[in-house]
């Protein structure tokens, strides 16, 4: 125990002295958080809107007001057909609303009514999202008239509503992903590098001469990285809450458990890499390959798992970040408890145990 503490103390000092490591562990995550949080805002707001109102009734004005009040659209101009094309071509507007004359009358007499929404298809993703906003607004507007004036309206109608993330604020969705991603990189890379560096510099051989077993050495080396990664991850969460209004609906304890299991797996992965790699360069590349890429691509952080090819979907089961993301989003955004996340926590624990066991077998063999 005293020997392990000696190793841990030394490692803490080294982390502290080594500004580069410290930066990667603490400041880079914060930097990324701000960068992604502000710049990678996938929400689409303030879409320029041109309105061609040929009806000019109370109803048409109410519809326009609904668009503007939604917060998604900014009224840029009231125009005619030619004006719409011009604004659209110059990219001054992303959408145009064309209200044919007769809308007001049709609504009042419960006749069929139609409005036209024109979208700038430059960016298909944006257009799709904007169309979603427009349809939702129009649907809820028309619903206002229906009960009184249109008893024959369909009984069943879909009413999309996004839960937990009412405004579809992507930041809230991204931040948990970011935590997973950053925790994975810092934990895996820095653990792997710290051990391989000792091999490279020859200090490992010197340490192996001491009556110190592999377990104390490895534990002493990983505990500091565990603590630093944990602090770093919690820091990200706090920053996200303060700056981006991320909620914390569930229990901190559960969050801590999920985070610890996830980090333990990441550290195990780093140890495993360090037992295979002999140079820092190899270790770095290996760490990137087994942690960075899967966490980024196969965890659901950026690409939804359900839209992946079948084979890749199967692969994602071996990516711990996948479970961590579900757990983190569950705790933070939905406030769900252990009963909903048991499977994820079990998967994280299984992964951590497996890599730690494998790593300790390999490291012990290398040690003696």
């Amino acid at each position: 125990m005293r020997k392990m503490m000696a190793v841990a103390r030394k490692e803490f000092r080294q982390i502290w002295r080594d500004t580069r490591t410290l930066m990667t562990l603490l400041f880079v995550p914060a930097f990324f958080l701000l960068l992604y949080g502000y710049a990678l805002n996938f929400d689409i707001r303030h879409v320029g809107l041109a309105v061609d109102d040929r009806d000019r009734t109370m109803e048409s004005r109410a519809l326009i007001a609904a668009f503007v009040n939604s917060g998604y659209f900014d009224l840029v101009a009231s125009v005619d057909a030619a004006g719409t094309t011009r604004l659209m071509n110059r990219n001054d507007v992303g959408a145009a609303l064309v209200i044919p004359s007769g809308l007001g009358r049709a609504v009042r007499t419960a006749g069929p009514a139609a409005v036209q929404v024109l979208l700038n298809g430059d960016n298909a993703n944006t257009a799709t999202t904007v169309m979603g906003y427009a349809l939702t607004i129009i649907r809820s507007e028309s619903a206002r008239y229906r009960p009184a004036t249109a008893p024959s309206a369909p009984l069943v109608s879909a009413e999309p509503r996004v839960w937990y993330n009412p405004a579809l604020r992507s930041t809230l969705f991204l931040v948990p992903g970011l935590i997973a991603y950053i925790a994975m990189i810092t934990a895996v890379v820095s653990t792997a590098l710290s051990i391989v560096r000792e091999k490279e510099r020859g200090t490992m051989e010197q340490v192996r001469m001491a009556p110190l077993d592999a377990a104390s050495f490895v534990a002493g080396k990983t505990v500091p990285y565990f603590v630093v990664s944990l602090v770093s991850a919690l820091g990200i969460i706090v920053v996200a809450m303060a700056l981006f209004g991320m909620p914390m609906r569930g229990s901190w304890l559960l969050l801590l458990v999920a985070l610890s299991l996830f980090l333990a797996g990441a550290l195990g992965l780093g140890l495993l890499i360090s037992s295979v790699a002999d140079t820092q360069q190899v270790a770095f590349q290996a760490a990137l390959l087994v942690s960075f890429l899967p966490t980024l691509m196969l965890s659901g952080f950026i690409f939804p798992i359900s839209s992946m090819p079948r084979f890749l979907q199967l692969v994602t089961y071996a990516v711990p970040a996948r479970y961590f993301l579900i757990a983190l989003r569950g705790v933070v955004l939905k406030g769900v408890g252990l009963e909903a996340l048991g499977r994820e926590l079990a998967a994280l624990a299984a992964f951590a145990l497996a890599v730690l066991a494998l790593a300790s077998v390999r490291l012990r063999r290398e040690w003696s």
Partner: protein, 309 residues
Amino acid sequence: MNAITATDLTKRFGDFVAVDRLTFEVGQGEVFGFLGSNGAGKSTTIRMLCGLLKPTSGSAKVGGADVSRDPEGVKRRIGYMSQRFSLYEQLTVDQNIRFFGGIYGLDRERVEARRRFVLDMAGLHGREHTRAADLAGGWRQRLALGCAILHEPPIVFLDEPTGGVDPLSRREFWGLIDRLSASGVTVLVTTHYLDEAEHCHRLAIIHRGLLAALGTTDELKRLFGDRAIVEVHAANPVETMRLLDRMPGIEKTSVFGTSVHAVLKDDPRHSAPALKKRLEAAGVAVTSIDVVQPSLEDVFLEVVERAGH
């Protein structure tokens, strides 16, 4: 009892035999030198003796513990300073000492006592808070030695401890080795500096993994028997050596700095004055020509030649 006994110690890397059936003994308190050029197999031998590397065949006992069967027992009895500087450069002198004290399991008081000892020994007082990376070579080496003997082991292995260090620091370092030996510690040290080898009580010359010669320096010098060694100082040593090579009665020659050493065949007709005449006849301006005692360098070259290239 001997501190170290090696019997037919052998290490192969694939087909390559790095250490070939080494057999030797080192007595308690002895300073035993391993002399050999780069790649001779010195480090490999030391690493086997330290329990860091498993011998392919043969056996060795260090402090009574068998290196193959009980490497941990070996590790408990020895201190090891590897060929590379292997302290933590980012940590200070103090932090390095405390770290090694910690992993050797020394308690707080012992660490404190040994820390003072190391600072004294290495002359590092006032530099306790300097990072190891910022120390000059000689200090680093002495600190590394200090960390290797923190736990006061009876046997110490030093692998090229003075590599890349200035001559003055090297001399000081050897002073430390002498002190260790005087206090009863057995020291096995490798070097390829021939001048350092003179500090060793006994020397093993290793060549291509084989033990080419073993003995005190005096014993090794007797390898030349009655053959005289003549040292010639002349204007152009290389040219002089070429001329000597072509003369009868000369076994071999080599250039040592500004002089030429020639080993004469055991034959009274070929004396130094005779040689001088012949050289002058060939137009060489001879400054001096004397019969000298063989130096370690002569011995080394002789031994390596006999062992075969």
